[in-house]
């Protein structure tokens, strides 16, 4: 990501050189508008239109600049003003590149290469074509086609060397070529081009010196050359503290430098304190620059450093901001990374619901990212296809013109054209093949990533689903129980009270059979409501804890007379945590239900033992027993629920059943927090 970004940066700086050769980092918009208004169709006006248009587009994101550029192009063409034409096209191409509008960008730069030149000053032409090639290289680079990019860059170099070489221009070309070689993983070649810069360093403007060091740093980074990185960083540091940059360059270089410094401390030195300091500096600069994408990237870096330093409390809000801004601004890559980190943090913090939610967000962002990538790829493919079609049309038009003029050379022309078309067809199919292969590779990578996510999720799935079973279902149950008591319960109570008051006031009612029946039914309904609420969530369990609740349960069942339940507990004076209590209660409920339904037992013993973090539960009956291996469907259904609950508590379940003697169920749990 950084590599692309910087490469584009070089490109932008390059265009700045063309447009404002002197010191102009800011331009006087008003005076340019005055020139446009006062002059008529002369080259001065064309220049003003181009500068104003380019300025509006690149600095103000104001698309009215496009109209100005179109006007400038039209006028320049009618005036035969070659430089004006090229400047207009370059500005337009630069804007299209920024917008990822590859079709327009490629077409515009190709137009520069095709533009006929009539004047004597061929240096201008060389310069314009050199820039067109350089920028075309940038576009192919952005789209991952480093080979084509390199070929354009080399063309650009050839042209640069034809003119009296200005070291600053050469450095850009060399650095860009080195960057292509680096991305093609031909590191020796990359180093070779960077070496060519060395003798020119003293003559360079500081910004190009900085760019050279930046590319050197990138190369050292992929080569994992720590000493090299340290040297490059030291060089940059010297530059930003001593060299004379323009105001915009100061911010830009400072931002880049502190970003790199921070990454270095974080990823190589593991010195997180310094990394955080550097990234904070970088963030401050990004804020001053008023560049959203840089700010986001700085935030992300800072958050990652906090995260690596174990300061998750500081990291979380930053990542959340990155995620939010990333989603809002369409910076999906940043948002995805932030969501991924957040998921990891919350996972280690045990907040699985949040972790899962961010994991899902990361996956969906990753999907949309891949969709975007594919769309970008398709757009690019389309752009190349359209461009080649256009070139073929141009070729055929030219061919027709030539036909009229030179009938003799018809055959040759035809052959040339066919060869050109054949080459185009071959190129196109190669490109298709390549892109297909890339897409396949991408799909494969995509699939592997997804599988990894799925494995991770599957691992979490059980715990999380059980977690939500407890935290969701049980919370819901206690909420419903509470609502029943507070709402309906209160109403029933009041109705019953009023009824009894009414009876007192109108004694005759007592003799009415219907009145008496209704009164009874209200009592029954009220009792029924209590029973339902109790089954939902026994108040005694929440208020007084597991032993009290189990004592209640045992007494209730014993009072029924069918089954005598004894309960004893040891070491449970301190309460367990709420979730564990509810879980154990539900397990015992289920076990007792099974016994009542299937075991034909007369007595049951429930026993809880706790010593420090060891907890064991025994439920033993004197029923007919069953074959644990071949339990019938219904029993195993109940058992499955019990098993999953035991699994949730990370316990062990042993069912030990002897026919006609009874069944002993033993559940062993290691409690998380013995002090709780």
């Amino acid at each position: 990501m950084t590599l692309f970004y910087r490469s584009l940066c070089l490109l932008c700086i390059y265009l700045l050189v063309l447009h404002w050769p002197a010191s102009a980092q800011t331009i006087n918009e008003d005076s340019l508008r005055k020139v446009v208004a006062q002059h008529r169709r002369d080259t001065l006006r064309v220049d003003a239109l181009n500068r104003l248009g380019g300025y509006l587009l690149s600095h103000k994101q104001d698309t009215s600049g496009l109209a100005l550029l179109t006007e400038a192009l039209r006028d320049a063409r009618s005036l035969g003003y070659y430089t004006g034409i090229c400047q207009s096209l370059l500005a337009r191409g630069n804007y299209a590149t920024k917008q990822n509008d590859w079709l327009a960008a490629i077409a515009t730069y190709e137009d520069i290469l095709q533009e006929p030149f009539t004047g004597k000053d061929s240096l201008r032409r060389i310069r314009a074509q050199m820039m067109a090639h350089n920028n075309l290289g940038g576009i192919y680079n952005r789209n991952g086609d480093y080979t084509t990019a390199l070929s354009h860059r080399l063309q650009s170099l050839k042209l640069a060397e034809q003119q009296a070489p200005d070291p600053n221009t050469l450095v850009i070309v060399y650095c860009n070529i080195a960057s292509e070689y680096r991305q093609l993983q031909l590191y020796d070649k990359a180093a070779e081009y960077l070496d060519r810069v060395k003798p020119m360093l003293t003559d360079l403007k500081p910004i190009y010196h900085f760019d050279y060091l930046y590319e050197l740093h990138s190369l050292d980074e992929v080569k994992n050359d720590t000493a090299g990185i340290t040297r490059a960083l030291a060089g940059m540091k010297t530059l930003i503290t001593t060299a004379k940059f323009s105001p915009f360059q100061i911010l830009d270089t400072e931002y880049e430098y502190y970003k790199l410094e921070g990454n270095f401390y974080r990823d190589y030195q593991k010195d997180y304190k310094k990394a955080i300091e550097a990234h904070q500096q970088s963030l401050q600069t990004a804020i001053k620059m008023n560049a959203e994408e840089s700010r986001l990237s700085a935030l992300q870096n800072l958050a990652t450093s906090y995260y690596k330093a174990g300061m998750t409390n500081q990291a979380i809000p930053l990542f959340e901001e990155v995620y939010r801004l990333g989603v809002a601004r369409g910076l999906t890559f940043n948002a995805k990374k932030a969501a991924g980190h957040l998921s990891d943090i919350f996972k280690t913090n045990g907040r699985f619901e949040l972790a899962l939610s961010y994991r899902e967000k990361a996956i969906s962002l990753s999907d949309s990212l891949q969709k975007d990538e594919k769309l970008k790829e398709l757009n690019f493919l389309e752009a190349r296809y359209q461009n080649e079609k256009r070139m073929a049309q141009i070729a055929s038009l030219e061919r027709e013109n030539e036909l009229h003029k030179l009938e003799v050379k018809e055959k040759n022309r035809w052959m040339l054209a066919s060869i050109a078309i054949a080459i185009l067809v071959i190129l196109f199919s190669m490109m298709l093949y390549r892109s297909n292969r890339q897409r396949r590779l991408l799909a494969e990578k995509d699939r592997m990533l997804k599988e990894e996510e799925i494995r991770f999720l599957e691992g979490q799935q059980k715990v999380i689903s059980l977690q939500s079973m407890v935290n969701g279902q049980e919370a819901e149950r206690s909420r419903i129980a509470k609502d029943l008591h507070d709402g309906l319960g209160g109403l029933f109570s009041t109705v019953r009270m009023h009824y009894s008051t009414l009876q007192e006031q109108v004694p005759a009612l007592q003799d009415l059979a219907l009145y008496k029946k209704t009164r009874e039914l209200i009592g029954v309904a009220s009792e029924e409501l209590r029973r339902v609420a109790h089954n939902m969530m026994p108040e005694v369990l929440l208020k007084l804890g597991l032993p009290e609740a189990l004592r209640d349960m045992s007494n209730t069942i014993s009072a029924g007379g069918m089954l005598s339940v004894n309960f004893q507990s040891y070491g449970l004076e301190k309460r367990l945590d709420r979730t564990t209590e509810i879980m154990l209660y539900r397990i015992i409920q289920e076990l007792i239900n099974n016994i009542i339904k299937h075991a034909s037992a007369s007595t049951v013993l429930i026993q809880l033992n706790r010593e420090e973090n060891r907890l064991s539960l025994v439920v033993e009956d004197n029923g007919k027993g069953f074959d644990t291996a071949a339990a019938d469907g219904r029993q195993s259904m109940g058992l499955a629920t019990i098993k999953s609950r035991v699994e949730y508590l990370r316990g062990q379940l042993v069912i030990d059943s002897v026919p006609d003697v009874g069944t002993t169920v033993l559940i062993d749990i290691v409690l998380d927090n013995p002090s709780a």
Partner: protein, 212 residues
Amino acid sequence: MIKLIIIDDHPLVADGIATMLKDESYLQIVASAKTGRQGLAILSEYPDCEVILLDINLPDTDGLQLCEQIRQLYPNLKIIGLTSVNEAGIISQMIRRGANGYLLKDMEKEELLHAINRVLDGHVYLSKGANEKILQQLRELDINPHQVPMLTRREKEILSLLDQGLSSQEIASRLSLSIHTIDTHRKNMLQKLNVHNTPALLKAAGKLGLLG
């Protein structure tokens, strides 16, 4: 005139009680509160109040704790707990923490008056809805909890095999259980008899007549 205070967060319930009592000339509801904190404040305003109807499910405080607190502050006050649940554990706790009686919230007028009269006479009043299990549990309150522990069937088996001098490993293979399971049963028995090793366990079990 007997002064009475209601603490219940449910306005309808408080209303219902007021309606039931409004014709009783010897009873006067002097105030009612919706929260525990409010209740304590009102109680301090009416030191001559004799009976309090206390909902044990309040939004701000745990009703059982509040009951205990009121009992400590006002030793002579008669507390009747109001509850919407009929659970033995909760009710016995309430009585243990100083309530003089309890009523299910859907009581009728006669029961309410009867309960007030009973507690004023110094008796404990339990709701008509108090069933056998509640009475059982209340009776058990006074029973010594340190009774002889019951051993489970498996524990008895393991104990007798230990008594025969078998090791955990040998018992495990004899009973087709894992050694871990045997160990858990053994540890449970150690805890139940409050001893720390197998010889002490056998000795204690022998004393209590749990062997053979």
